[in-house]
Amino acid sequence: MFKKLKPIIKKEFRQIVRDRRILAVLLFVPAFLLMMFGYALNFDVKHISLAVYDEDRTPESRNLIEQFIHSEYFDWNYYLNDKKAVDKLLDNEKAKLVIIIPNNFSKKLKRGEGAEVQIIIDGANANTASIISGYVNSIIQNYALKIISEIFQHSKVLRLNIPLEPRARIWYNPELKSAKFLVPGLIAFILMITTVISTSLSIVREKERGTIEQIIVSPIHPIQLIIGKTLPYMLFALVSAYLILTVGYLLFDIEVKGSQFLLFMVTLIYLLAGLGMGIFISTISDSQQVAFQISALITILPTFILSGFVFPIKNMPMFIQVVTYIIPARYFLVAIRGIILKGSGLGAFWKEVVFLLIFNILIFGLSWLRMRKIKI
């Protein structure tokens, strides 16, 4: 068995090394993509462009505005003199948040009535908008509490402190950098695309050129063929995975908190899933074009959208959640985020590993069946 394997592996190796493009896709494109996009992926809601229309122009209203400027989230870009400008700023996306302080603000505040402040938020991006609305509400609440407690201090009738002081501690990612969350996802995404595409294309190319028939007529078992074809890609994909992790560490401070061995094993299983998909695609397509289209269709968007990379799976409707179970990246992501960010052990994600293994068995089994049927 192994005697026959060796020449196939050798041949495949030579082919990969000779085809500079496939080699580049396998080895360097992943690291390059991470470098490029790692910087771009960022959900931090900061530098919110703020416009203020202060009709009141009193020390009280200026004080309120100052609360916003002193928070780190807002960039005070516009001071409006005209209410009509509000529409324009929001329509052109020049401002995301407009604060309008009506001219009776300080009067009402002094009288002890409820002083209204109008807040307009650009809601186009729902996610950003709800975070902005949260910031605004807590800034205003805090300010109101501060005024009240000052009055209490002067009145000397009653003693009052702010009743609750929230103390937030953030684990695993204390600075709340979105890169820490997104870079592991990007790693899963890039590895999946490059392995599936390079494997499927290389096998289909042999079909297109007819060289695969020569292999088929030789006394080689389909399983040997699959193993022989997979192993070299596996090796290159692993090297690529470690290149990408190194880039993640050097550029984005993504340190592996957990066990290196676990990380290696999980990555290996994940890469196998990608290779299995690549082999399966090559059994159902006759031309490189079709193979590429199918690979792109089942890797790019599903791994981006349905894996929990960016969009939380638990928010999706039930039938889409069911679909996510056949996306290998879904499992890999839980595992590598656990290992890299939290330093958690196998206990935290053994279910994901089992699912990935089942996926691998299924995809390789299917490929084997197809290969026997079509006699390639």
Partner: protein
């Protein structure tokens, strides 16, 4: 003209004959839109909450009720030991833990400041940020209620207590649904992927098969040849746009607020850039495989990540922002979202339209020049 007609006919015949291409052109976009429309959801609900209540008083239970009644949190469990806290966060069973100290009720009743600890799983930074906002909001509300109660007493004694009432209004997307933001983006993305990829593949295939040379030796002028080659893709692109708009409207209830005709006209300008890019790729690639790789890694992926489709451009480092100015999709996403969500017209979109147009002319004429040189 008749020559162009015949060329277009030939192109359509070819497409019709390729059985696997037709579904990719017309079914895949709808399929992707439906999956994406459902899955692309970053709304934050059901934050998994664990409570470590050391006080176990009626006051602390009141605070916990504040969380459970808010609609944002789902109480998963009560924690009894500090060690368990690690377990809940490490295994991802809870994403937020509230720790209520044992002197909570005593301090509240004595009008001192009680400290409440919030521990958050920060690995998903944007989710963590939003959870933190909601938690702070609930704690502040609790404070406010206590203060308001006191105020009632003070008012009774004739003291005037000010209050600020924020009136938050969200424009364009008042229910803060992320589908309203994402679906227009998906339209832009699909249009780009389909037209750029098909154009480059269609042209390279003719070269690979050798039929391009037959076309060149016929007495057809190169611009006729180009028009004949590109016109079908314009038509396909427009049909896809109309399909996607219809599905968005009927299925997802995302209505276009602005003018459909304006959107279609601007789509044509956008097609100028995508067809131009496709044409350009075809001039630099020898094989379909090369064309696919180039389209994928140098056109599709940068456009997905750097166009502002999902990741806000203003968060990127300056270099990435500079690169994003070269991406036609960047402008087109703003245009599509503007027309869909804000109902703005050409006046507000003038800058984007002009830049898109200039970019289109530049890319297109550059590609045509390269293409003609190649032919000659």
């Amino acid at each position: 003209m008749t020559k162009i007609y015949h060329l277009i006919r030939k192109e359509f015949l070819q497409l019709k004959r390729d059985k696997k291409m037709l579904p990719i052109i017309f079914v895949a976009p709808i399929f992707q839109l439906i999956i994406l429309g459902y899955a692309v959801n970053m709304d934050i609900k059901n934050i998994q909450l664990a409570v470590y209540d050391l006080d176990k008083s009626s006051k602390s239970r009141e605070l916990i009720r504040g969380f459970t009644n808010s609609g944002y949190f789902t109480l998963i469990d009560y924690i009894n030991h500090y060690q368990e806290l690690d377990h809940y966060l490490d295994y991802g069973k809870a994403s937020l833990v509230v720790v209520i100290p044992n002197d909570f009720a005593k301090k509240i009743n004595g009008r001192e400041t009680a400290q409440v600890q919030i521990i958050i799983d920060g690995s998903d930074s944007s989710f963590a940020m939003a959870s933190l906002q909601y938690a702070t909001l609930i704690l502040n509300r609790y404070s406010q209620n206590i203060v308001l109660e006191l105020i009632r007493v003070m008012r009774y004694q004739g003291l005037r207590i000010p209050q600020i009432i924020p009136q938050v209004r969200v424009w364009y997307n008042p229910e803060l649904l992320s589908k309203n933001f994402m679906i227009p983006g998906v339209l832009a993305l699909l249009l780009m992927v389909i037209t750029a990829l098909l154009t480059s593949l269609g042209l390279v295939r003719e070269r690979e098969i050798g039929t391009m040379e037959q076309l060149i030796v016929t007495p057809i002028k190169s611009y006729v040849l180009l028009t004949g080659k590109l016109a079908p893709f314009v038509l396909i692109g427009m049909i896809d746009v109309i399909l996607v708009i219809t599905v968005a409207n009927l299925w997802f209830k995302v209505q276009i607020k602005g003018s459909v005709i304006l959107l279609l006209l601007l789509c044509i300008i956008f097609l100028l850039t995508t067809l131009g890019l496709g044409l350009f790729v075809s001039t630099i690639s020898k094989t379909q495989q090369q064309a696919m790789m180039v389209t994928m890694f140098f056109i599709m992926l940068p456009m997905i990540y750097l166009s502002g489709f999902v990741f806000p451009i203003e968060n990127m480092p300056k270099i990435m922002q500079a690169i994003s100015y070269l991406l036609p999709l960047r402008y087109f996403v703003v245009i599509v979202r503007g027309i869909f969500l804000k109902g703005v017209g050409i006046k507000e979109l003038w800058d984007e339209t002009l830049l898109l147009f200039l970019l289109g002319i530049f890319i297109f004429s550059l590609s045509v020049m390269r293409f003609r040189k190649k032919l000659g």
